[in-house]
Subunit: 321 residues, 2 copies
Amino acid sequence: MTTSVETWARQVRAGDIRAVSRAVTAIENRAPGAEELLQRLFPHTGQAYRIGVTGAPGTGKSTLVDRLAAHYRKAHQTIGVIAVDPSSPFTGGAILGDRIRMQGHASDAGIFIRSMATRGSLGGLADATSDVALLLDAAGKTYVLVETVGVGQAEIEIVRLADCTLVVLIPGMGDDVQNLKAGLMEIADIFVLNKCDREGADRFEEQLRAMLSIVPERDGWRPPIVRTVASESQGIGELAAEIARFRAHTATSADRRGQKIEYWKRRLVDMLELRLLERVLPGQQGEARLGALASEIADRKKDPYAAVNELLSDAGLREAK
Amino acid sequence: MTTSVETWARQVRAGDIRAVSRAVTAIENRAPGAEELLQRLFPHTGQAYRIGVTGAPGTGKSTLVDRLAAHYRKAHQTIGVIAVDPSSPFTGGAILGDRIRMQGHASDAGIFIRSMATRGSLGGLADATSDVALLLDAAGKTYVLVETVGVGQAEIEIVRLADCTLVVLIPGMGDDVQNLKAGLMEIADIFVLNKCDREGADRFEEQLRAMLSIVPERDGWRPPIVRTVASESQGIGELAAEIARFRAHTATSADRRGQKIEYWKRRLVDMLELRLLERVLPGQQGEARLGALASEIADRKKDPYAAVNELLSDAGLREAK
């Protein structure tokens, strides 16, 4: 068993696509062996540059990620792409999507694309995404692109792992302000104004620039706006240049180590919480029980303290007083 | 011991200020007896209307809350005020502040004001605030006002318990857009434009109104903007009228019960996580240990999976495989 995980880890580190693919599935299913594999791989991580890409549906994120990946491939970099959809409960469609997306890079072993979707259970998607990002890092990818659909709290949680976060906007969604809600201003290192051949692009850029000019800088960085037409591969080189400029900027930032430590503190707490919650409220049964208890509490038929003690007792975790 | 908690609960329900005060302290310190007390009180909760008040420092939230409380007192309603400062690690200053604030209502037993601040430990402030809100509810307060300093994620977490959330803005902070970041648009049921006798109030209101007009309605409600000068008690009656209008609107909303159940699901998970985390990483020692482990992980001297297993083992919570 130990030998087999050892071999598996060696294959992953060599970039073997089948071994990496099997590892992603094991991480998603929280299968036995996944953790041991990740433990073996962890010392070899920390080399990949992680780029988060977020934005509302319809902004052309997938195309942008594909073209950015193709740009890096031309420079002989290896790429991992994780496409995360927190709103989708099934992976079926996503897997089909992977196949279609992979066709453009069919014979290219230097690029690995995988979609991940939530399973409707408690948390876990951000955890799995972090683990897959580490896996691709250990597999020697120079860039790991994490793309999330949507702009809510779950997506922000997911891009937190990124070294550089791109927020993708498009002009003419009829709702300029809406695109900037939900803390997007706070997480963006670079704004990408995609589909900028559309009407209203100049006005939109002007508004965004005016907005950015009054927001305080973070660590001496003011997020630039890069105009792209991803479907025509326009502006991709400029985007890569801005990413490189941001990377150079943060490499010398004094906050860098502190941020990494903060990230790992948060991750450790998330991992602990997930491990413990899975024990108290396992799977779909756990989810159903949580709903039933919440409903009794809302009706004042049960108190929340009794509910928590009940859950802890049943899981054998009630502390002796 | 049981009799004593029974008496305590009876005193709280009668609105005895000393008993309520002692209970807040017990909740803050997670003292023995607090949970038993809350369990006894819980069936008597669900009557108070909870109003969350949030906004950037300097917007005059405390004055606004004081005047709104005074308005309700005139109508013979009883009031509980919880002032939460997630950024302050000490309660000393806050307690002094309470004494000053209480002076305006010195001889009035119908109003109870208490400040809460974080203790620098993992989470817990949102939990304690929820518990104190339940306590004041059980103590028969008709309105519980929860005021938070600041506009970050922690504050949003805290006002989540509110039935109605006021977001307080002021004109002329030199930085209009900044005031609306961090998901404030999403949590506001009512916008309060305080200090509206200042220059630029009209322009600010116009901008805000333009912004609101393009944001989709939530459950058929578009957040109104109420202009106030809290220090002069101007606009307070109108604000109370808008709160009443929102209350009437949501009382008939089909989503209401679903929202309450969602709230309790979330609260149960939070309570579970807090209970379990406190066992794995207790107090300041736990915080220090978390920081040390995160630092080792950032340096790749330890892997995060080993760190989690180590923490769970030491707490006697490692699952037998």
